[in-house]
């Protein structure tokens, strides 16, 4: 035949042969040799600043860049020394004295002193910064009053530097989970000098978080932030415990789709990533893959109502919708990741609190409530939109729920998906009717969930407000007695389940792949982990 055809065949064969012979080392293999951890992060980050961000992708990175006064033991969940090497608590549980360790340093070599915490928390409470975590600092005495403007002088707030290394914290009330809270990103110290170099103290989104400007105090420090490509951190030589940090660096890749992330894992490009796609769970579980990890989590997947708009300003409508959902079927047939159907907001708690009140599955009652609200069999029910962020698994749940409501109540809802940040923004500005939401507890205490729905709470986002509820949460906060606190929470939870500003759908279960070469990994109830404990070991083939 003619030589063209032969030419092509030869070219194709040689291309295949060439690529076949030269099997490249994967990133994971290279990383194992160099102690560089490759992480699939679920999205591009909005910023690094813990005072202006709330998302998981941001959190995943912040925990490597900052460290609080105390940290946490992954297994026992007990507090461990962090920036502070020791502390004492007064008898009434309201006054804490922290001793900042001698070797505490910022990543530029500056000494980290007690005043840094005072200045950081001052910034966190500045109203113009619009910090969504501000209410987390309200545990400090007078912090709320300062935030609301009724106190102008920050020195009245319960945080004082007694000396360079002595930090005195006065709480508004006894807060049993306070030490846990100090491990939360809202409490991390920030290098105020750097912030001031690039703008006003209360200005959002300045250049201080760029890799070349950034100063932090964590086990790692920022070396690269290329949007859509990578956020890279390297070991911080000034970190007080640097000799125990074995990883040389971590690279976070924004991989929006969990399917893509799993593919990257299988091709050896990431050691670990956030969420195993639902369709793949069965495969890894049945094959007993050593990388597969499943563990209970302290988090709830729920739907938010915008209680300020029709028809959701009527609690009967909210209740009807909630009662009509078969959550057992949802977790068994749709999410399929061994999640637990949730009938109330707070997940069962290892510290001994499990809510008594529930939002039951009761179709008859749901129908009755709906017709009481003026929409018998869904007649005349307004067109509403269910908002979720673009992800196959959210869509599946939404589609299943759309059908459940259509079947049981005869109401039609539309689905709308939005990209993560738009979705967050719309949720925050309450530019929605019904939306998908989730919350992973910041500390192991019902307060982290029930706190969400206090009036005008930074993460309430439903417009729902109930003064009795607010008071109960306040009472629980000021109570000294754990049993009494839990009783207040039970009552608050009952109000929540009566008024239904949200529909709890399921309690999270972590389903992860962590490369067997990653050592020191511990499953954690909040899916937090400590990068400083991890190290990599090459796998022999």
């Amino acid at each position: 035949m003619n030589y063209f055809l032969r030419l092509i065949i030869i070219t194709l064969i040689s291309i295949c042969a060439l690529s076949g012979c030269k099997k490249n080392k994967t990133l994971v293999e290279l990383g194992n040799e160099e102690q560089i951890l490759h992480v699939g992060n679920s999205d591009e980050i909005a910023d690094v600043d813990p005072h202006t961000t709330t998302g998981t992708p941001e959190h995943n990175i912040q925990i490597s860049l900052f460290e609080g006064l105390v940290t946490q033991d992954a297994e026992t969940l007990e507090p461990k020394p962090g920036v502070a090497d020791s502390w004492t608590v007064s008898e009434d549980g309201k006054i804490y004295h922290f001793h900042i360790r001698d070797t505490a340093r910022w990543s530029n070599g500056d000494r980290l002193v007690a005043q840094d915490f005072v200045d950081t928390w001052h910034r966190a409470l500045m109203p113009a910064l619009a910090n969504q975590w501000a209410s987390y600092l309200f545990v400090l005495n007078n912090a709320e009053a300062f935030y609301n403007g009724s106190i102008k002088d920050f020195s009245a707030v319960g945080v004082k530097a007694l000396s360079e290394q002595e930090l005195e914290i006065t709480l508004a009330s006894n807060t049993p989970y306070f030490l846990q809270l100090l491990n939360h990103n809202s409490m991390y110290p920030l290098h105020i000098k750097t912030i001031l170099k690039f703008g006003a103290i209360d200005e959002r989104s300045t250049l201080w978080t760029r890799a070349e400007n950034f100063v932090g105090n964590g086990a790692f420090t920022l070396t690269e932030w290329t949007p859509q490509k990578v956020v890279a951190v390297k070991k911080n030589p000034y970190y007080w415990d640097a000799e125990h940090v074995k990883l040389k660096g971590i690279r976070f890749y924004p991989i929006q789709s969990d399917v893509n992330a799993e593919r990257s894992y299988r091709a050896g490009q990431v050691h670990l990533f956030d969420k195993l796609p639902k369709d793949k769970i069965a495969f890894y579980r049945n094959n007993k893959d050593p990388a597969y990890r499943t563990f209970p989590m302290y988090g709830t997947y729920f739907y938010r109502f915008n209680t300020l708009v029709k028809p959701f300003n009527d609690p009967r409508v909210r209740k009807a919708l909630a009662y009509a959902l078969d959550r057992e079927s949802l977790v068994k047939n749709v999410t399929k990741g061994s999640e637990l159907a949730a009938y109330t907001l707070t997940p069962p708690n290892p510290h001994g609190y499990t809510a008594n009140a529930t939002i039951p599955y009761d179709v008859e009652k749901a129908k009755k409530l709906l017709s009481e609200a003026g929409y018998p069999d869904g007649v005349g029910f307004p067109k509403i939109k269910l908002l979720y962020n673009t992800l196959e698994s959210h869509q599946k749940i939404a589609v299943a729920i759309q059908e459940m409501w259509k079947k049981t109540l005869g109401i039609e809802i539309q689905l709308e998906n939005q990209e993560w940040k738009t979705f967050l923004e719309n949720q925050r500005t309450m530019n929605y009717q019904l939306c998908r939401a989730s919350w992973i507890g910041d500390y192991i205490d019902p307060d982290t969930f029930l706190q969400l729905f206090i009036t005008d709470g930074g993460n309430n986002e439903t417009g729902w407000s109930n003064t009795t509820y607010d008071q109960l949460i306040k009472k629980a906060a000021s109570s000294n007695n754990q049993a009494e606190r839990f009783e207040f929470f039970q009552q608050a939870e009952k109000i929540l389940d009566d008024e239904v500003p949200i529909i709890p759908l399921y309690t999270y279960v972590g389903n992860r792949l962590v490369s067997p070469s990653v050592k020191g990994w511990k499953n954690h109830l909040q899916d937090f982990w400590s990068y400083k404990d991890l190290y990599l070991e090459s796998q022999e083939h």
Partner: protein, 294 residues
Amino acid sequence: MHQEIAGIQNLEQGVSLSQDAFRRLKKNKMAMIGLLVLLFFIVIALLTPWIAPYSYEGQNLELGATSPSLKNWLGTDTLGRDQLTRVMYGSRISLAVGFIATAVALLIGVLWGATAGFLGGRVDAIMMRIVDALYALPFTIFIILLTVIFGNSLILLFMAIGAVEWLTMARIVRGQVLTIKKQEFVEAAVSMGLSPWQIISRHLIPNVLGPIIVYTTLTIPSVILLESFLSFLGLGIQPPQSSWGSLISGGVESMEEYPWLLIFPGLVLSITLFSLNFLGDGLRDALDPRASKD
């Protein structure tokens, strides 16, 4: 008097041309197969509400995803919905998008191109500069913007895709009109005092019909593909409705676990696009025997 004769002669020529073309088309096996397959899909799509085996949103959560069986010929998806039914309903939307959006493109493009070509001069220049400007807009983004800003609805989808696809049509028609305009019978009509609109609608458009038909058959597949891209981005059809595109983009996500969710919608889409392309090629050859077959 002889002007009228010229017109009649041309008309006769047109008739014989189209008969000739159809004869040639009938000889082209691939094109005829394409036409038949297409007609078959259209009939199925039209009859879907009556012949579909299940309701398109009816879930069976306990069942979940099952491979093809006697009960569900093309299997079921992860929510236990019958795949055959969903492909059938999907064909309604995909074909509707294909035809309606192309019709929108056709209407705007033909009128715009014919007007510009016929009037010529400054009007032509301005109209074509506008086309150039729109050409310079990255189309896909243009549609994404429209759907992001105004929300996604089926009608908007038709309009948006149509509004993007008319540009090439306008250029082709203008080019044809420019050449035909110089021919005798049009000059005759002008001298007879017919209004521009009459001339455009009676003389110009019928005479550029060939290229328009060919280009239309080639536009439909690209419109269907465009819709599938939008579905891939989550901007196309909103669940629980489905189009071939949204079924495929869903199937891609789980192609290892449930390959049938990708294979069947993909197959149907490919067959349709194949048919349309063969039909388009066949029509081009039939209408203009001199045109190179590419």
